[in-house]
Symmetry: C2
Subunit: 594 residues, 2 copies
Amino acid sequence: MRSHRCGELTESHLNQEVDLCGWVHRRRDHGGVIFIDLRDREGLVQVVFDPDFAEAFKLAETVRSEYVLKVHGTVRPRPAGTENPNLTTGKIEVLATHLEILNKAETPPFPLESEIEVSEETRLRFRYIDLRRPLMQQRMKMRRDVIRFLRGFLDHHGFYEVETPFLTKATPEGARDYLVPSRTHPNHFFALPQSPQLYKQLLMISGMDRYYQVVRCFRDEDLRADRQPEFTQLDIETSFMDENQIMYLMEDMIRQLFAEVLQVELPNPFPRLTYAEAMRRYGSDKPDLRIPLELVDIADLVESAEFKVFAGPANDPDGRVVALKLPGGANLSRKEIDDLTQHVAIYGAKGLAYIKIVDRSAGIDGLQSPIVKFLPVDAVRGILDRVEAETGDIVFFGADKAGVVNEAMGALRLKLGQDRGLADKDWKPLWVVDFPMFEWDEKENRWFALHHPFTAPKCSLGELESNPGQALSRAYDMVLNGTEVGGGSIRIHRTDMQHSVFKLLGIGDVEAQQKFGFLLNALRYGAPPHGGLAFGLDRLVMLMSGAASIREVMAFPKTQSAWCPMIDAPAMVTDAQLRELGIRLRRPSEGDKG
Amino acid sequence: MRSHRCGELTESHLNQEVDLCGWVHRRRDHGGVIFIDLRDREGLVQVVFDPDFAEAFKLAETVRSEYVLKVHGTVRPRPAGTENPNLTTGKIEVLATHLEILNKAETPPFPLESEIEVSEETRLRFRYIDLRRPLMQQRMKMRRDVIRFLRGFLDHHGFYEVETPFLTKATPEGARDYLVPSRTHPNHFFALPQSPQLYKQLLMISGMDRYYQVVRCFRDEDLRADRQPEFTQLDIETSFMDENQIMYLMEDMIRQLFAEVLQVELPNPFPRLTYAEAMRRYGSDKPDLRIPLELVDIADLVESAEFKVFAGPANDPDGRVVALKLPGGANLSRKEIDDLTQHVAIYGAKGLAYIKIVDRSAGIDGLQSPIVKFLPVDAVRGILDRVEAETGDIVFFGADKAGVVNEAMGALRLKLGQDRGLADKDWKPLWVVDFPMFEWDEKENRWFALHHPFTAPKCSLGELESNPGQALSRAYDMVLNGTEVGGGSIRIHRTDMQHSVFKLLGIGDVEAQQKFGFLLNALRYGAPPHGGLAFGLDRLVMLMSGAASIREVMAFPKTQSAWCPMIDAPAMVTDAQLRELGIRLRRPSEGDKG
């Protein structure tokens, strides 16, 4: 039907006859002539209808926004002075000789100019129109470019794409599963996978050597923050590589991806931080390294102070006392500091102590602070020396259980970085390594796996069992600008180690056999050393495209309440359907057919 | 950990030191030396352990089948006379100097030699071992090669891969859906997609221009024949192309695929048959053109015979009478003919009349048949002339309602072709086109869509409404060796036509708005002409790899009862889970927690 796409015409097509198909982006009547910006996936081109071609001109007079047209015409230069340097096609236009209206259109529910604010609910309800906006087309194209590059890289490195099942079994120790009732096996349910973790390990045991999959995963979580019930993972696993080889290959992939798609050069190699160091310096295991602020431990300086707020945590083995210096922050107003105090309260901090350095040369007298009077002068001096505070700076303090301090002061660090525009413009990827194997849960009085129960420890079986709290794992997370974009580990490939980890997690032999029997069995028949990781593709594309939410880089996302306003799903079903599945509703509501 | 893969070593690596990782495929002790065939994804290599390297030799003595090893050694030529021409690595061997046992293995539940028959249930239960068999590895590799090629072709032709949701809404007019209870919207259910049909149409309306997706689809069908609850589709849609352009592009893709992966040349162009002609000549809309047998209509020759079995259907407008000649078939025994009679009975045929041509030159006396005596001599002569019967042939007859004749004689044609080994060795693809829009269902007393309700008719809206039974659709099926591998159509892109088709299918305006409101709305805002198709990837790979079932080309298929013996899914869930979803079991069985 067409010879070219609208957006690809340039001066190299001058004087050529072309056939174009596309949508009416804008129509202007000017000086007895009709101008139509015709739009397709590749962009816009200006089409001119002149009364000399009476039939086409007459038809063009009836044309409105979003009509679908087929145009035949000749490419010619735009008159001097009317070129549009912002368009690829800006130096040319098409003089139309024939016009066919392929389909009419009603006035769209919102205009397509991307500057115009439209509520997200409306955008999702009319997603097929929202996706016509050039910005959304670019995002979909970038998503495709990213996935295509990643596949190419992995293909090149001998990874085979293998599809794993969606109708599978509930994942223990994970988030909530989506369940699918089985009709042929009454009272039994499939679960949609939260990730193909165990399948990819089984593929390694089956000798597949290197595997990847661009795969949908499902989590029935409360959709706080930026979550979706279904999301896409680049899932990767390999045999016979250790964590250093895997990390290097993966960062190389991401480096090449950024070079190819964004023309951005990422560091080589990526810096690595241990979990301990990341928590110590940034209060977070996914630090945003663009922000040049760091937490500094000062417990040793205040442990003998009378000020219990500091001395208590300083003397508590589970406590932590830190200082965070904001250079030039002495100009923060009382109101601004109150807001920051409220912000850290979200994370459990009971207050936000600070010292403003009005004049460093004036000693204690040059400080403005509600707490200095409670601290020995030596301690204050020691703190200011350690954080290298200078006149005009402010120093904030966090003192509490280490978990609270890390969360609250980590969040404060991010907020200060954003509010004050401190973030470096560069991309800041890193690896976080040496995670603890387990976290102790006070409430449930048992160990939990920090990653998942298939993660291999760095230590021997004996060391693991004698001191699980000290054991580090062979896990690694890739963090980019404060967002975890990927994570993985070397897996356990020996039955005895897997049994031991299950036992430490409180999963007895019977339960282990019932839930993970297939894995424990498989490990007995020659499991190779293996490991891998998974990238959150939605997040990665979101970051790369500068979008504010993963919903902006998915063609048909759901709302925060897991609803699709476009097709109106989920929906009610008939009683006959429920009957076939052997289930009934607990509280049928009025109007329900079930 | 390794420098090469086992299966890739050749003479070009002679004298090189190599590190290999892999599984012990076979161990032989011979002449004081230990030979181990070490296996990985790429194949086998012979590793030799000599007592000269005492430590490695001693360890090698403990090694058993399926142990995972790491070997360091030197590539050397095999001694003259011991080369194995069947292996890529058959001219060399590796003299091991170091050995590390990476993991031990118990004796596998079945040996990996692919010649050995193992029950499918066992193979599926231990799929991770089954997949180690070289034949299964080849199939997984072919699957990956096929998908990779197809993606590359579509990328090259400007198709964008776009992901569509899995948590969607029930499909009307389709097979049974898998349902997913929503927790956040009580009493509401998602459905897993039977295909992304409507999403891909919405993508066209959103200006995506050309779309594809390698996508999982779900059907909760009774798993007769070779079906799986989840299967993979190559889903394709394009705007601004007509059916001929689509068919040509798609057959070009398949032609290039076969050339690339199988080094097979398919015809250019693919032959096309109308639905009417396919039914007339082969009794099937997916004819296996490798079999050189055809149905021949003979109603006109027997319509005035006294033999009611033939004359009845010959005079019934819904009836059909056909002859099917099997050259050289006069030697079929009574028993063989009885078996064929039973075979056609499956498809509803009440018997199987035949004429054996013992001696064509002897006229009626040269025939052997239970029915000739009931037919006028002229009719018999007319039949034999029309099918060009010769001495030694047999002619079978089908006479009944056209539907029964087509099914039964189409099946007989296939069976004769298989039993007698008549099938051509070549690949025989074709397009079947000009399907009827609708089929009349006597029982429900209404029209059904032969494809789906979004398929465009070849005729105008007026013609469609005045004579729906005569209307042909713009649908096309790609058939390969008697299997439908792909199918699609040009879609309806105008609201009035879509309304009209819904009405003909008995879907009123209210129901249409309720079920398909989003599509009807979308068509109003500038829908481009569009069409596409979907390929069944499992079937395509099955055909290409010569496997007997789609289960043989899926990594982790389910059994015929939609069960996974490996992970034991579906499984029972807790009452707490059901409670959260607002559902309960209708008949909790003993031991159920729900």
